[in-house]
């Protein structure tokens, strides 16, 4: 565990009871320390990132040439379904919760999270859920094959694997709700004197808003999949047309959860960007207050745009227009954020260390993904592009260089603080450039495939799509294997990296850089720092 590495005995004082009693294995299960739990979340999500990535490579291998080579269609459908669920609920969300655990107490000057035991519980809930989800591949009927959206009637058919998936999502939902309650309570009640809300680092702000989104929409998902479960086993007919139910209703309820979920995956990434870009531009963040309001606006708007996922379902034109304009409206606060980051960099003394490379990559690629999202928001265009590879390209542009690169940037940025050691800068840059090139080789051609009409979630395709699919698969394998550089870099940093300075990035100005040594001691801010009268940190 990384926490074992960052645990520095020199910094221990009167806390022997907390971590000298149990051995390392007991400690994994019983720890309530936010740094331990943060590390556990990050390691877990890294593992799941590779599990989900392996599934993605199987999918791309099947699509390398037309025809069926690697997997059968049923397995292919399960792979696309579970790849998405693993990446969303197993990789990206836990990784951001890991960052929240590590950083929020440090950045607001609190000793730990508000409910440390609940924190431990919310991490450990994820393990049985993940086991259920992965084990569903090996039961009769295989894993859920309805796509991650679990649309009926596909999801009301399926075997026991679908039930396992539903239960897994229930447990993961409970875990994220507990994590969010912890985060909100910590932020609202445990800030150091003088750390007013409008002085909090942007990462804390974005997580506060994200956590509210999670506790608002996770119960909706829970209700939705519970109805699915009762339709499957208890003779209800919420979504079963034969019994008077309506499959379209599932889509409405699911996307009422699903669209805010999209922002749950990206808002903390915005927070990490807002920490890294000012640091390497050596300028304060441009328009801090507008960043806070833009984040809140995005969160509120996310509740009224779900219909754009289902333009083709047969809604009235008035409904389509409403959802189209509401969706386009989200581009305004998002644009505010993009322009603020660019304005932060404007005339800054920029240097291009690995975190900054990933941040700039994020800015370019996320904006591109945002634009293809705007294209899809136009109803007549969406009707032709619905369920094509254009959509696949769009959401991978906002999720991979969006969420994942923000996480990578964040890990490179905070590794020196967490471990007290520096990562290998050259390897980090290689990691970035290989990822940037191979990502675009993988996903840019998928725009063309989608425009040419190739449907998603199909294991075979017409011959005219062969060339771009081949290129996309080559890119995907390069992208997948480039990530091994990241793993190597993290391990070698922990084991033998150069000693990091207390303030490794000289312009980083949140509390963990200005008030704490590197590596961060096991216990911090038992006495909250007095920030009253101090200059604002951003």
């Amino acid at each position: 565990m990384a926490s074992a590495t960052i645990h520095d005995h020199a910094n221990d004082h009167s806390h022997d009871h907390a971590h000298h009693g149990p051995g390392p294995w007991t400690r994994i299960f019983t720890t309530t320390n936010h740094k331990d739990i943060g590390s556990m979340y990050l390691w877990f999500s890294l593992l799941m990132f590779f599990v989900g990535g392996a599934m993605a490579l199987l999918i791309r291998a099947e699509l390398f040439t037309p025809g069926l080579q690697v997997v059968q269609p049923e397995v292919f459908n399960s792979l696309t379904t579970v790849h998405a669920l693993v990446m969303i609920f197993g990789a990206v969300m836990p990784a951001f919760v890991g960052f929240a655990n590590w950083l929020i107490p440090l950045q607001i000057g609190a000793a730990d999270m508000a409910f440390p035991r609940m924190n431990n519980w919310s991490f450990w809930l994820m393990i049985p859920a993940t086991v259920l989800l992965m084990a569903s591949f090996f039961v009769p009927g295989g894993a859920a094959a309805s796509g991650w959206t679990l649309y009926p009637p596909l999801s009301t058919q399926g075997g026991i694997g679908v039930d396992m998936t539903i239960i897994a999502i229930h447990i993961l939902g409970a875990s994220s709700i507990m994590g969010s309650i912890n985060i909100i309570t910590t932020i609202l009640n445990m800030r150091a004197p003088g750390m007013t809300l409008m002085r909090m680092p942007m990462f804390v702000w974005t997580w506060l808003i994200t956590a509210y989104l999670i506790i608002a929409v996770m119960p909706v998902l829970a209700g939705c999949i519970t109805m699915l479960l009762t339709d499957r086993h208890f003779g209800t007919a919420f979504f079963n047309a034969a019994g008077g139910g309506d499959p379209t209703m599932f889509m409405h309820i699911f996307w009422f959860f699903g669209h805010p979920e999209v922002y749950i995956l990206i808002l903390p990434a915005f927070g990490i960007m807002s920490q890294i870009i000012p640091t390497f531009s050596r300028k304060p963040l441009f328009g801090y207050a507008s960043m806070v309001y833009a984040t809140a606006s995005i969160a509120i708007l996310s509740f009224i745009v779900w219909g754009h996922h289902m333009f083709t379902v047969g809604m009235p034109a008035a409904g389509q227009l409403f959802f189209m304009y509401a969706t386009m409206l989200i581009a305004v606060p998002t644009g505010v954020k993009i322009f603020n980051w660019i304005a932060t960099m404007w005339r800054g003394s920029i240097t291009f260390e690995t975190p900054m490379l990933f941040a700039i990559g994020f800015l370019c690629m996320f904006t591109l993904g945002g634009f293809s999202g705007l294209v899809l928001s136009i109803v007549p265009v969406d009707i032709t592009l619905h369920n094509t590879y254009y959509v696949v390209a769009h959401f991978h542009y906002v999720l991979f260089p969006g969420a994942i690169w923000a996480l990578m940037a964040g890990v490179y940025f905070w590794l020196p603080k967490w471990t007290g050691r520096m990562y290998n800068e050259t390897l980090g840059k290689w990691h970035f450039w290989l990822s940037a090139i191979s990502f675009n080789v993988t996903f840019f051609p998928q725009h063309f495939l989608g425009l040419a009409g190739m449907p998603r979630r199909i294991p075979d395709y017409a011959l005219q799509f062969a060339e771009w699919n081949m290129i996309s698969t080559i890119g995907a394998f390069a992208l997948g294997f480039s990530q091994l550089l990241f793993v190597y870099n993290v391990f070698s940093c922990i084991r033998s990296g150069e000693k990091a300075k207390e303030r490794q990035w000289d312009s980083a100005d949140s509390l963990e850089w200005t008030h704490l040594p590197s590596p961060v001691p096991y216990h911090t801010f038992e006495m909250p720092p007095d920030l009253r009268g101090a200059k604002a940190v951003h």
């Binding site: 309650i181 309570t185 007013t196 506790i215």
Partner: protein, 193 residues
């Protein structure tokens, strides 16, 4: 929300714990509210679709086969074969309809006997020629209807009149004649189906 009194440098842990618990309670309240919202979408969804006139197939195609320039009067008649102790009456005595329009009317039949009996209805048209243009989509005729002692049943007839109905026919009489087939049923060999 600040837990620190203005003059204190030290955060009071008991106070923080109390505040945390209060926040926890408020946040937990959101969960049932959102769950209730989710479940209330089930009836709400149906209501909204009904109010806005959204049906599953979006625009219900207008039936262009209806000849609105014509009205045909249809009389419904019910009679029983001699001595059959059922009560048989049309619920709708007559209807004025456009050719091409789909219409559903009902008959009511009651078994007044203290034991189960089976009847079978046969339709007839006046004028007979009208039968060629009278299409029944759903009807109780020609099939055996078994009624328990004292049982009463409402039976629909769904039909439309072909717009090619000759202009000279301005009204049609539809008559059903119920036969008692109880004895015949007993004699008949068991249907293997």
């Amino acid at each position: 929300m600040s837990v620190v009194a203005d003059d204190a440098d030290v955060v009071n842990p008991a106070e923080v714990r109390e505040n945390n618990r209060a926040t926890l309670k408020k946040l937990l309240l959101i969960l049932p509210v959102m769950l209730a919202f989710c479940l209330s979408l089930v009836p709400l969804y149906r209501q909204i679709c009904e109010v806005l006139g959204i049906t599953a197939t979006r625009a219900v195609a207008e039936n262009t086969q209806v000849d609105r320039s014509r009205i045909v009067k249809v009389d419904f008649d019910a009679s029983l074969h001699g001595g059959f102790a059922w009560k048989f009456v049309p619920v709708d005595k007559h209807a004025e309809i456009h050719p091409g329009e789909m219409v559903t009317i009902h008959y009511r039949v009651t078994n007044t006997l203290p034991y189960a009996t089976t009847g079978r209805a046969v339709p007839s048209f006046a004028p007979v020629e009208a039968g060629l243009f009278f299409s029944k989509i759903e009807c109780f005729c020609f099939s055996n209807q078994t009624l328990q002692a004292g049982e009463s049943r409402e039976m629909p007839v769904t039909f439309f009149i072909d717009p090619k109905l000759p202009a000279k026919i301005g009204s049609i009489g539809l008559s059903y004649y119920f036969f008692d087939v109880t004895e015949e049923m007993k004699k008949a060999p068991k249907d293997p189906a």
